[in-house]
């Protein structure tokens, strides 16, 4: 890649209120025993209490732009990587346009992506970097998402819980000509047969009217069968080979806060030891979809774990449907 694109700044907006997972399990009639609690490794999650998704997104965007010292009037593109339903029905409506207005980003145009769970963040990252690299007249991009969970749908797969969902908004500013947090390359691949491993069956054309199916559903059997971390390992190897980087030169991993079990499987597969991934955010936030990456990136920067010129990665299996691995360099 000839033009260097990097992360200029990032910000997260979390709702003020948090709930402990014990009370959420009780509320959603799910069983939380010591085994499940250990598997999840999530203690509490942030929950909206009147805050709207777009208001949180706006706050996150404003903070990210302030940190990036970017005049919003110069912003070229806004990319929405939200995964959960928005304030009106997508794709007829998309939050990115409301944000363009609220931010005053008059020069920008908007793009949004659907599908792929947390990997939607990596799709946004890869596409935004490509737009900046391929178009001379584009120099900055704002990635944004706001995910607010459907009421009563925080425990993913209550009969055999896989995660607990929190609410949050995240924003990342990308700029051309950066010297740090460079987006080196991204490998993305989808497995079409798993398009419906994790989705909301009701509320659109297939089953419009049944409230019982307007909720995120996981096909646990297919989720378990999907070679998730194995695939990410192969994709990372491809990515490293293409960029002539050695595995041992990658010192840290940004990975979704789905569960302790899922994070450990990835760490084992890649060969990451303790301290090479953040697990604290999982305990205190649960799974925030693509914003997990933003939360974990900010913690990585704050803790100074990755030094100048060192490589780090961002990876997600997208619930077995859309896998992605990004290589970045501090």
């Amino acid at each position: 890649m000839e033009t260097q694109v990097g992360i200029a700044a990032a910000a997260v907006r979390l709702p003020a209120r948090k709930r402990d997972v014990g009370s959420l399990f009780q509320e959603e009639s799910a069983i939380l025993n010591p085994d499940i609690a250990a598997r999840l490794g999530i203690e509490e999650v942030p929950i909206c209490n009147g805050e709207s998704a777009s208001a949180m997104a706006l706050a996150a965007c404003q903070e990210a732009l302030r940190r990036a010292e970017l005049d919003v009037a110069q912003l070229d593109v806004i990319v929405d990587y939200t995964i959960l339903p928005q304030e009106y029905l997508v794709p007829a409506w998309n939050m990115s346009n409301e944000l363009q207005h609220e931010l005053g980003a008059k020069k920008a145009f908007t793009v949004g992506f659907s599908g792929g769970g947390a990997t939607n963040f990596l799709v946004a990252l890869s596409s935004a970097a490509a737009m900046l690299q391929a178009n001379e007249n584009l120099t900055s991009a704002l990635l944004v998402a706001a995910d607010v969970t459907i009421p009563g749908n925080r425990i993913l797969n209550p009969s055999d819980p896989v995660s607990v969902l929190g609410d949050a908004a995240g924003a990342v500013v990308l700029k051309k000509g950066m010297e740090g947090s460079l987006v080196i390359d991204t490998e993305l691949h989808s497995e079409g047969s798993n398009h419906d491993v994790c989705y909301i069956p009701g509320g659109a054309l297939a089953q419009p009217d049944d409230p019982a199916v307007y909720r995120m559903e996981l096909d646990k059997e297919r989720f378990d069968k999907a070679p998730k971390t194995e695939k990410l390992k192969v994709m990372l190897e491809t990515l490293l080979e293409r960029n002539e980087v050695k595995r041992e030169d990658v010192v840290f991993g940004l990975y979704p806060n789905l569960s302790a079990e899922d994070q450990q499987q990835f760490a084992d597969s890649i060969g990451f030891g303790p301290g090479q991934m953040n697990s604290n955010n999982r305990k205190s936030h649960g799974h925030l979809q693509g914003t997990d990456f933003v939360v974990n990136y900010l913690s990585m920067i704050e803790n100074g774990i990755v030094k100048k010129e060192q490589y780090f990665l961002a990876a997600s299996h997208g619930m077995g449907f859309l896998a992605g691995v990004s290589l970045l360099r501090m």
Partner: protein, 337 residues
């Protein structure tokens, strides 16, 4: 300037069942009063009938179009690196959690692809998607072949987007290839006006009125006073902006444009475009209006295919594809034949 990417082929699928607009107006209780002194919506719309999917799903419309373009181009699905769904209205399952991209990948056997969906732009989503796809393909050697598709099916009694147009169901698909020397995409320009984000919207299940038995929450809803006050005054200005942008990026002039592909909304809208940009009607594909009405973002593909097949676009022609979308979005793309 050129992206180095060409259109290998494009195709569409229209469900066989048709419904006359007179029946649609009756079933949807469309007002009979004239819109303005010289425009009567029902009399002047210029659409005779639209295709109706009935039992066919939105995804099946897209799949039929995708299979058609694969057959037409002879592209092996295993060659496809990128699949992007650019459908602009709700599909089988709720977005942005889901899109039809994965199921299309599975059904056509595009085993090596990245499947995703661009979910903004309204009827200009094709242009937004061209911008994204061309950028990905230009920036990375590994993205060489892309399938872009859409499948649109409106709810049974939501075929009229009053007072703009009448909606047809259908699907479309386009294959792009890096290094393809024919039908080169010279430039793509898109623009959005965020303040107009809520002119056209679909409320969604979470906003439904439990007493609503007609599923109005799944219908396209319009803020017509705001449309009249804020979109109408900006519309032609924004068309000019994106077309000039596309021409400037390609280093070409408007006089060089041999043919225009423009949405099939209504007779008065097509007339306004031609008058504003001093384009003779013969240089704009308008025949599709009467045949099928408006197919959302698929207008850009369907009318392009028909214009080629019917001899309106010839080798060497510079073609402008331009549209607006959902009141907030505009796009222009230049294709060198």
């Amino acid at each position: 300037m050129t992206t180095g990417i060409g259109i290998v082929g494009a195709s569409y699928y229209l469900p066989p069942k048709r419904k006359a607009v007179t029946d649609i107006f009756r079933d949807e209780q469309i007002p009979a009063e004239p819109l303005a002194a010289n425009v009567d919506f029902q009399r002047d719309i210029g659409i005779e009938a639209v295709h109706v999917a009935s039992e066919e799903s939105a995804t099946s419309l897209a799949l039929n179009a995708s299979r058609s373009v694969l057959e037409k181009t002879g592209i092996d699905p295993a060659e496809i690196d990128l699949i992007i769904d650019f459908t602009s209205i709700p599909e089988e399952y709720v977005a942005p959690t889901w899109s039809a991209a994965g199921i299309i990948q599975k059904e056509i056997g595009a085993t090596h692809a990245l499947a995703t969906a661009v979910n903004t732009g309204g009827c200009a989503s094709y242009h937004t998607t061209l911008k994204v796809a061309c950028s990905w393909m230009a920036a990375h050697d590994r993205y060489r072949t892309a399938l872009l598709f859409a499948g649109d099916k409106v709810p049974e009694f939501n075929h009229t987007y009053y007072p703009i147009t009448v909606i047809c169901d259908g699907g479309s698909a386009v294959i792009l290839k890096k290094g393809h020397e024919r039908r080169q995409i010279l430039s793509v320009e898109v623009a959005t006006l965020g303040k107009l984000h809520d002119i056209w919207y679909i409320p969604g299940f979470h906003r439904r009125d439990p007493a609503d038995k007609d599923r109005k929450w799944l219908h396209m809803t319009a803020d017509i006073p705001k449309f009249n006050q804020e979109v109408i005054p900006m519309n032609l200005f924004m068309f000019r902006k994106v077309m000039r942008g596309a021409l400037s990026l390609a280093g070409r002039k408007q006089q060089e444009v041999a043919y225009y592909i423009y949405p099939t909304f209504s007779t008065w809208d097509q007339k306004a475009f031609c008058q504003a940009f001093m384009v003779v009607p013969e240089k704009v594909f308008t025949d599709g209006l009467q045949r099928h009405g408006h197919l959302q973002e698929t207008d850009m593909v369907l009318d392009y295919v028909d214009a080629i097949d019917e001899g309106h676009i010839k080798e060497g022609d510079l073609v402008m594809l331009t549209t607006n979308g959902a009141g907030f979005s505009w796009g222009a793309a230049l294709i060198q034949h």
